[in-house]
Symmetry: C2
Subunit: 287 residues, 2 copies
Amino acid sequence: MSQSEGKRMTDIGIFNELSEYIAIRINSCREESHDGDWIEHKAHNDYDLWFVQAGTVRIQIGGIEHTANPGDVVFFYPQVPYMAASPGEGCRFIYVHFDYGIGGQQRILGDFPLSGIVAHERIREEAELFRGTFIRSTQPGGVPGSRLYLKAGLTAVMARIIELHGLGRYTGAFVSGRNPRKSEGSLDVLQPIFKYVHDHLHRSMKMSELAALAGISEKYFISYFKKALGITPGQYIYQVKMNRARDYLYEKKHTVQQIAGYLGYPDPFTFSKAFKKYYNVPPSKFV
Amino acid sequence: MSQSEGKRMTDIGIFNELSEYIAIRINSCREESHDGDWIEHKAHNDYDLWFVQAGTVRIQIGGIEHTANPGDVVFFYPQVPYMAASPGEGCRFIYVHFDYGIGGQQRILGDFPLSGIVAHERIREEAELFRGTFIRSTQPGGVPGSRLYLKAGLTAVMARIIELHGLGRYTGAFVSGRNPRKSEGSLDVLQPIFKYVHDHLHRSMKMSELAALAGISEKYFISYFKKALGITPGQYIYQVKMNRARDYLYEKKHTVQQIAGYLGYPDPFTFSKAFKKYYNVPPSKFV
């Protein structure tokens, strides 16, 4: 990968920035086999991945037909009706139902077109890792740690899908059918804020500025932001600043005073206090 | 692995049961090289793993010397003073500082003897996975998803350490030096409760019974439990019941009414409501 690809700032980079907040909850995970006359009409209640192990799965969503082959990974969003069938020889796949979110917002991906079929050659390593963790988790009696493994496997698969999309190598082709309730909030509306925060870390930012960028009245801004992203604007800015502080310290070429300045803290003492609150150590002892 | 090994109920199985609650937060992750005259006296503020890449690391804790070789993984607990050196050729390792906990309890492992050196042959696959995710996370500019990958790698390493200990194949040899503050609570005290809950799911359990098992006055019981485990006894029992409900439904040989009975619900309706609250689908549509 070239440096320019790595540097490209993409919308979905928000999940990298907020990686420490993101939580996965696995609701169920099983392997199923179907024979050639299987037809399923359904809509899932949570995120759902299918890891095709054998045979061919045909999926119809919004009148369009898609085909998944062995090794491919099918990613469904919640509440989207589909029809699945496996004409001919039948099929076998591992499915996992899960939530993927931040704080009270358990469905953080809805604004990104990730729902579709990820071709096996793009996700081979992660899909194999997941399959291994799945097999381990089905050992009789429950091996200690096996559910944690499963989470590791799913975390890697999701990281891969987000990476592929961020690098412009994958966009899901399923019609999302997403029609967010007003109360839920959309990350799209907040994207100008993420960029603005990123570019203005060196100075203090007022909630009124940020609200204006999103075109939301100041009164509703914080609660809108929190519903959409799962954390408040203040928590978001703090997290971004702590990430940058970490990166600057890793570079080993800036003083604590300089970093305090880059990040809009009035003085090194205030910065050190904020840093220590997050990392448990003062910046001077971090690296 | 034999079935009896898989079935053995070990204390550390609690983390498998509570896998959906466990959160990892990575505070820092870097590679360092040291030459032959390196000596470090330190105590970490959080959990710390070293993945030895080259050379030999000698670690002295509580007057005992330990040696870590390439491929070995060294696991430090917080607040334990050590001396590290690399006599002769020097050394190179990747370190990661992190929290591992549930809710407000960010140091959930302290009661288990996991701090020590995990020999490379026991953790090769997970250590390699972690190393791969580390390399990806250091790409210039921040590849989207790379911090999520890192979390996947660390989750797998921790799952492996917990698994090895649960199967009796690894016990950390570092003196823990742990002296829990009274306010923090110890999981040891709660172990009889975990077993009791496990064995009595079919009937309602009173807080007073559970408190008595731990030898804690009823008045302090809930807050003690929550400090030690990060969730309340009620949340713990609910999680265990939902795990078992899932397992029974997977078996496809029990009715909803039977499962409600196994899990101490007064009727199938109350069970279905509790189930749906957790899984977003009623038990009849789960599998």
